[in-house]
Symmetry: C2
Subunit: 154 residues, 2 copies
Amino acid sequence: MNDFMAAAIEEARRGMLSGEGGPFGAVIVRSGEIVSRAHNEVLATNDPTAHSEVNAIRRASALLGRFDLSDCEIYSSCEPCPMCFAAIHWAKLRTLTFGCTKEDAARVGFDDEFIYEVIRGTAKRAQVSVHQAGRESAIGLFEEWERLSSKRMY
Amino acid sequence: MNDFMAAAIEEARRGMLSGEGGPFGAVIVRSGEIVSRAHNEVLATNDPTAHSEVNAIRRASALLGRFDLSDCEIYSSCEPCPMCFAAIHWAKLRTLTFGCTKEDAARVGFDDEFIYEVIRGTAKRAQVSVHQAGRESAIGLFEEWERLSSKRMY
Protein backbone atom coordinates (compact mmCIF):
# COMPACT_ATOMS: atom_id res chain seq x y z
CA MET A 1 0.00 0.00 0.00
CA ASN A 2 0.96 3.57 -0.63
CA ASP A 3 2.89 5.10 2.33
CA PHE A 4 0.65 8.17 2.38
CA MET A 5 -2.50 6.08 2.67
CA ALA A 6 -0.79 4.09 5.44
CA ALA A 7 -0.07 7.40 7.22
CA ALA A 8 -3.71 8.50 6.88
CA ILE A 9 -4.89 5.18 8.34
CA GLU A 10 -2.36 5.40 11.20
CA GLU A 11 -3.56 8.93 11.96
CA ALA A 12 -7.16 7.65 11.99
CA ARG A 13 -6.14 4.92 14.42
CA ARG A 14 -4.50 7.47 16.77
CA GLY A 15 -7.63 9.61 16.85
CA MET A 16 -9.90 6.63 17.37
CA LEU A 17 -7.81 5.16 20.22
CA SER A 18 -7.49 8.53 21.95
CA GLY A 19 -11.27 8.98 21.83
CA GLU A 20 -11.01 12.26 19.92
CA GLY A 21 -13.47 11.22 17.23
CA GLY A 22 -14.46 8.55 14.71
CA PRO A 23 -11.97 6.34 12.83
CA PHE A 24 -11.00 8.81 10.11
CA GLY A 25 -7.61 10.22 9.14
CA ALA A 26 -6.09 12.27 6.33
CA VAL A 27 -2.73 13.57 5.22
CA ILE A 28 -1.84 16.31 2.76
CA VAL A 29 1.23 15.76 0.59
CA ARG A 30 3.36 18.21 -1.37
CA SER A 31 6.35 17.24 -3.53
CA GLY A 32 6.38 13.77 -2.02
CA GLU A 33 6.44 15.01 1.59
CA ILE A 34 3.63 15.02 4.16
CA VAL A 35 2.67 18.63 4.96
CA SER A 36 -0.09 17.89 7.50
CA ARG A 37 -1.69 14.94 9.28
CA ALA A 38 -5.07 15.06 10.97
CA HIS A 39 -7.80 12.87 12.38
CA ASN A 40 -11.42 13.43 13.24
CA GLU A 41 -11.64 15.61 16.36
CA VAL A 42 -15.40 16.13 16.65
CA LEU A 43 -15.57 14.62 20.14
CA ALA A 44 -12.40 16.27 21.43
CA THR A 45 -13.27 19.77 20.21
CA ASN A 46 -17.10 19.71 20.09
CA ASP A 47 -16.67 21.14 16.58
CA PRO A 48 -18.99 19.31 14.15
CA THR A 49 -16.81 20.49 11.24
CA ALA A 50 -13.62 18.94 12.68
CA HIS A 51 -13.49 16.06 10.19
CA SER A 52 -10.05 14.73 9.29
CA GLU A 53 -9.93 16.24 5.78
CA VAL A 54 -11.07 19.69 6.95
CA ASN A 55 -8.53 19.55 9.80
CA ALA A 56 -5.74 18.48 7.43
CA ILE A 57 -6.62 21.33 5.04
CA ARG A 58 -6.70 23.90 7.86
CA ARG A 59 -3.33 22.72 9.14
CA ALA A 60 -1.67 22.62 5.70
CA SER A 61 -3.01 26.09 4.84
CA ALA A 62 -1.73 27.51 8.13
CA LEU A 63 1.70 25.90 7.66
CA LEU A 64 2.05 27.02 4.03
CA GLY A 65 0.47 30.43 4.69
CA ARG A 66 -1.98 30.20 1.79
CA PHE A 67 -5.48 28.97 1.05
CA ASP A 68 -4.51 27.65 -2.39
CA LEU A 69 -3.24 24.08 -2.05
CA SER A 70 -3.26 23.34 -5.78
CA ASP A 71 0.28 21.93 -5.56
CA CYS A 72 -0.82 19.41 -2.92
CA GLU A 73 -2.80 16.19 -2.85
CA ILE A 74 -4.87 14.60 -0.11
CA TYR A 75 -5.05 11.02 1.13
CA SER A 76 -8.01 10.11 3.29
CA SER A 77 -8.69 6.81 5.04
CA CYS A 78 -12.32 7.06 3.87
CA GLU A 79 -14.31 8.61 1.05
CA PRO A 80 -15.03 12.21 2.10
CA CYS A 81 -18.45 13.46 3.18
CA PRO A 82 -19.95 16.31 1.10
CA MET A 83 -18.53 18.94 3.52
CA CYS A 84 -15.01 17.60 3.16
CA PHE A 85 -15.38 16.94 -0.56
CA ALA A 86 -16.41 20.57 -1.10
CA ALA A 87 -13.59 21.77 1.22
CA ILE A 88 -11.14 19.82 -0.99
CA HIS A 89 -12.47 21.80 -3.96
CA TRP A 90 -12.20 25.17 -2.17
CA ALA A 91 -8.61 24.31 -1.22
CA LYS A 92 -8.01 23.64 -4.95
CA LEU A 93 -6.48 20.24 -4.22
CA ARG A 94 -6.03 18.39 -7.51
CA THR A 95 -5.89 14.78 -6.35
CA LEU A 96 -7.87 12.86 -3.73
CA THR A 97 -7.11 9.24 -2.83
CA PHE A 98 -9.41 7.49 -0.37
CA GLY A 99 -9.41 4.04 1.27
CA CYS A 100 -12.84 2.90 2.46
CA THR A 101 -16.01 3.90 0.66
CA LYS A 102 -18.88 5.87 2.16
CA GLU A 103 -20.88 2.63 2.17
CA ASP A 104 -18.17 1.04 4.35
CA ALA A 105 -18.44 4.04 6.70
CA ALA A 106 -22.23 3.75 6.83
CA ARG A 107 -21.92 0.11 7.91
CA VAL A 108 -19.96 1.18 11.02
CA GLY A 109 -22.36 3.97 11.94
CA PHE A 110 -21.19 6.99 9.93
CA ASP A 111 -23.77 7.56 7.24
CA ASP A 112 -23.61 10.76 5.18
CA GLU A 113 -25.85 9.54 2.37
CA PHE A 114 -28.72 11.73 3.65
CA ILE A 115 -26.63 14.84 2.95
CA TYR A 116 -25.64 13.63 -0.51
CA GLU A 117 -29.32 12.97 -1.22
CA VAL A 118 -30.40 16.45 -0.11
CA ILE A 119 -27.77 18.05 -2.35
CA ARG A 120 -28.73 15.81 -5.28
CA GLY A 121 -32.40 16.63 -4.72
CA THR A 122 -33.33 12.97 -4.16
CA ALA A 123 -33.95 13.10 -0.39
CA LYS A 124 -37.35 11.87 0.73
CA ARG A 125 -37.20 13.88 3.95
CA ALA A 126 -35.17 17.01 4.66
CA GLN A 127 -33.40 17.42 8.02
CA VAL A 128 -33.09 21.17 7.53
CA SER A 129 -36.00 23.45 6.81
CA VAL A 130 -34.72 26.01 4.26
CA HIS A 131 -36.16 29.50 3.76
CA GLN A 132 -35.21 32.65 1.90
CA ALA A 133 -35.66 36.14 3.37
CA GLY A 134 -34.21 39.63 3.05
CA ARG A 135 -32.75 39.25 -0.42
CA GLU A 136 -33.35 42.96 -1.17
CA SER A 137 -30.95 43.95 1.63
CA ALA A 138 -28.51 41.11 1.07
CA ILE A 139 -28.18 41.93 -2.62
CA GLY A 140 -27.32 45.52 -1.67
CA LEU A 141 -24.27 44.13 0.07
CA PHE A 142 -23.14 42.40 -3.12
CA GLU A 143 -23.56 45.71 -4.98
CA GLU A 144 -21.35 47.35 -2.32
CA TRP A 145 -18.82 44.57 -2.87
CA GLU A 146 -18.77 45.22 -6.61
CA ARG A 147 -18.10 48.93 -6.00
CA LEU A 148 -15.43 48.26 -3.37
CA SER A 149 -12.09 49.34 -4.84
CA SER A 150 -9.95 47.75 -2.10
CA LYS A 151 -11.29 44.24 -2.56
CA ARG A 152 -9.10 41.22 -3.22
CA MET A 153 -10.76 38.56 -5.38
CA TYR A 154 -9.96 34.94 -4.66
CA MET B 1 -36.63 42.41 7.47
CA ASN B 2 -35.92 39.90 10.17
CA ASP B 3 -33.42 41.21 12.77
CA PHE B 4 -31.32 38.06 12.55
CA MET B 5 -30.93 38.38 8.79
CA ALA B 6 -30.03 42.04 9.30
CA ALA B 7 -27.34 40.92 11.79
CA ALA B 8 -25.97 38.37 9.30
CA ILE B 9 -25.77 41.05 6.59
CA GLU B 10 -24.12 43.51 8.98
CA GLU B 11 -21.57 40.87 9.92
CA ALA B 12 -20.89 40.26 6.21
CA ARG B 13 -20.35 43.99 5.72
CA ARG B 14 -17.85 44.11 8.59
CA GLY B 15 -15.82 41.26 7.13
CA MET B 16 -15.91 42.73 3.64
CA LEU B 17 -14.84 46.21 4.76
CA SER B 18 -12.03 44.86 6.95
CA GLY B 19 -10.69 42.84 4.01
CA GLU B 20 -10.97 39.56 5.89
CA GLY B 21 -12.88 37.78 3.12
CA GLY B 22 -15.80 37.92 0.73
CA PRO B 23 -19.16 39.58 1.52
CA PHE B 24 -20.69 36.76 3.52
CA GLY B 25 -22.00 36.68 7.08
CA ALA B 26 -23.99 34.33 9.31
CA VAL B 27 -25.48 34.24 12.78
CA ILE B 28 -26.66 31.31 14.89
CA VAL B 29 -29.72 31.85 17.04
CA ARG B 30 -31.02 29.94 20.07
CA SER B 31 -34.23 30.76 21.92
CA GLY B 32 -34.47 34.11 20.16
CA GLU B 33 -30.93 35.19 21.07
CA ILE B 34 -27.84 35.36 18.85
CA VAL B 35 -25.30 32.77 20.02
CA SER B 36 -22.57 33.48 17.45
CA ARG B 37 -21.83 35.87 14.59
CA ALA B 38 -19.23 35.25 11.91
CA HIS B 39 -18.09 36.43 8.51
CA ASN B 40 -15.95 34.92 5.82
CA GLU B 41 -12.30 34.93 6.98
CA VAL B 42 -10.61 33.09 4.12
CA LEU B 43 -8.27 36.00 3.34
CA ALA B 44 -7.51 36.86 6.97
CA THR B 45 -6.74 33.31 8.05
CA ASN B 46 -5.61 31.63 4.79
CA ASP B 47 -8.07 28.89 5.74
CA PRO B 48 -10.14 27.90 2.68
CA THR B 49 -12.80 26.42 4.99
CA ALA B 50 -13.30 29.70 6.92
CA HIS B 51 -16.67 30.48 5.35
CA SER B 52 -19.15 32.44 7.47
CA GLU B 53 -21.49 29.51 8.20
CA VAL B 54 -18.64 27.16 9.18
CA ASN B 55 -17.15 29.89 11.38
CA ALA B 56 -20.51 30.58 13.02
CA ILE B 57 -21.01 26.85 13.69
CA ARG B 58 -17.50 26.49 15.18
CA ARG B 59 -18.06 29.47 17.44
CA ALA B 60 -21.53 28.40 18.59
CA SER B 61 -20.31 24.85 19.28
CA ALA B 62 -17.37 26.16 21.30
CA LEU B 63 -19.60 28.53 23.28
CA LEU B 64 -22.27 25.92 23.98
CA GLY B 65 -19.72 23.15 24.55
CA ARG B 66 -21.44 20.68 22.22
CA PHE B 67 -21.43 19.68 18.57
CA ASP B 68 -25.21 19.20 18.49
CA LEU B 69 -26.89 22.50 17.66
CA SER B 70 -30.32 21.01 17.04
CA ASP B 71 -31.92 23.67 19.26
CA CYS B 72 -30.44 26.45 17.12
CA GLU B 73 -31.12 27.97 13.70
CA ILE B 74 -28.81 29.69 11.25
CA TYR B 75 -29.26 32.87 9.23
CA SER B 76 -26.84 33.43 6.36
CA SER B 77 -26.59 36.46 4.10
CA CYS B 78 -26.26 34.08 1.13
CA GLU B 79 -27.31 30.57 0.16
CA PRO B 80 -24.64 28.24 1.54
CA CYS B 81 -22.05 26.45 -0.58
CA PRO B 82 -22.08 22.61 -0.42
CA MET B 83 -19.40 22.63 2.30
CA CYS B 84 -21.43 24.94 4.53
CA PHE B 85 -24.71 23.23 3.68
CA ALA B 86 -23.26 19.88 4.74
CA ALA B 87 -21.73 21.47 7.87
CA ILE B 88 -25.22 22.75 8.77
CA HIS B 89 -26.44 19.14 8.57
CA TRP B 90 -23.57 17.80 10.69
CA ALA B 91 -24.33 20.47 13.30
CA LYS B 92 -27.92 19.21 13.26
CA LEU B 93 -29.29 22.72 12.73
CA ARG B 94 -32.99 22.46 11.94
CA THR B 95 -33.62 25.75 10.16
CA LEU B 96 -31.62 27.69 7.60
CA THR B 97 -32.66 31.12 6.33
CA PHE B 98 -30.58 32.73 3.59
CA GLY B 99 -30.70 36.10 1.80
CA CYS B 100 -29.06 36.09 -1.64
CA THR B 101 -29.12 33.02 -3.85
CA LYS B 102 -26.05 31.19 -5.10
CA GLU B 103 -26.79 32.66 -8.54
CA ASP B 104 -26.53 36.16 -7.00
CA ALA B 105 -23.17 35.14 -5.50
CA ALA B 106 -21.95 33.78 -8.83
CA ARG B 107 -22.70 37.14 -10.46
CA VAL B 108 -20.28 38.90 -8.08
CA GLY B 109 -17.51 36.34 -8.53
CA PHE B 110 -18.29 33.58 -6.05
CA ASP B 111 -19.45 30.60 -8.05
CA ASP B 112 -19.84 27.25 -6.30
CA GLU B 113 -22.00 25.63 -8.96
CA PHE B 114 -19.04 23.51 -10.14
CA ILE B 115 -18.97 21.78 -6.73
CA TYR B 116 -22.74 21.22 -6.73
CA GLU B 117 -22.40 19.73 -10.23
CA VAL B 118 -19.62 17.34 -9.19
CA ILE B 119 -21.68 16.13 -6.22
CA ARG B 120 -24.78 15.74 -8.39
CA GLY B 121 -22.77 13.87 -11.02
CA THR B 122 -23.58 16.41 -13.74
CA ALA B 123 -20.14 18.08 -14.00
CA LYS B 124 -18.61 18.09 -17.46
CA ARG B 125 -15.08 18.45 -16.07
CA ALA B 126 -13.79 17.46 -12.65
CA GLN B 127 -11.37 19.73 -10.78
CA VAL B 128 -10.27 16.91 -8.50
CA SER B 129 -8.93 13.60 -9.74
CA VAL B 130 -10.38 10.94 -7.43
CA HIS B 131 -8.82 7.53 -6.76
CA GLN B 132 -9.34 4.66 -4.37
CA ALA B 133 -6.44 2.74 -2.78
CA GLY B 134 -5.69 0.67 0.30
CA ARG B 135 -9.27 -0.31 1.14
CA GLU B 136 -8.09 -3.66 2.61
CA SER B 137 -6.10 -1.82 5.30
CA ALA B 138 -8.60 0.99 5.80
CA ILE B 139 -11.45 -1.46 6.31
CA GLY B 140 -9.39 -3.17 9.03
CA LEU B 141 -9.54 0.09 10.93
CA PHE B 142 -13.34 0.09 10.76
CA GLU B 143 -13.33 -3.47 12.11
CA GLU B 144 -11.13 -2.28 15.01
CA TRP B 145 -13.63 0.54 15.60
CA GLU B 146 -16.49 -1.94 15.78
CA ARG B 147 -14.62 -4.02 18.38
CA LEU B 148 -13.58 -0.96 20.42
CA SER B 149 -15.45 -1.11 23.72
CA SER B 150 -14.55 2.45 24.80
CA LYS B 151 -16.01 4.17 21.78
CA ARG B 152 -18.59 6.93 21.92
CA MET B 153 -20.99 6.97 18.99
CA TYR B 154 -22.20 10.32 17.69
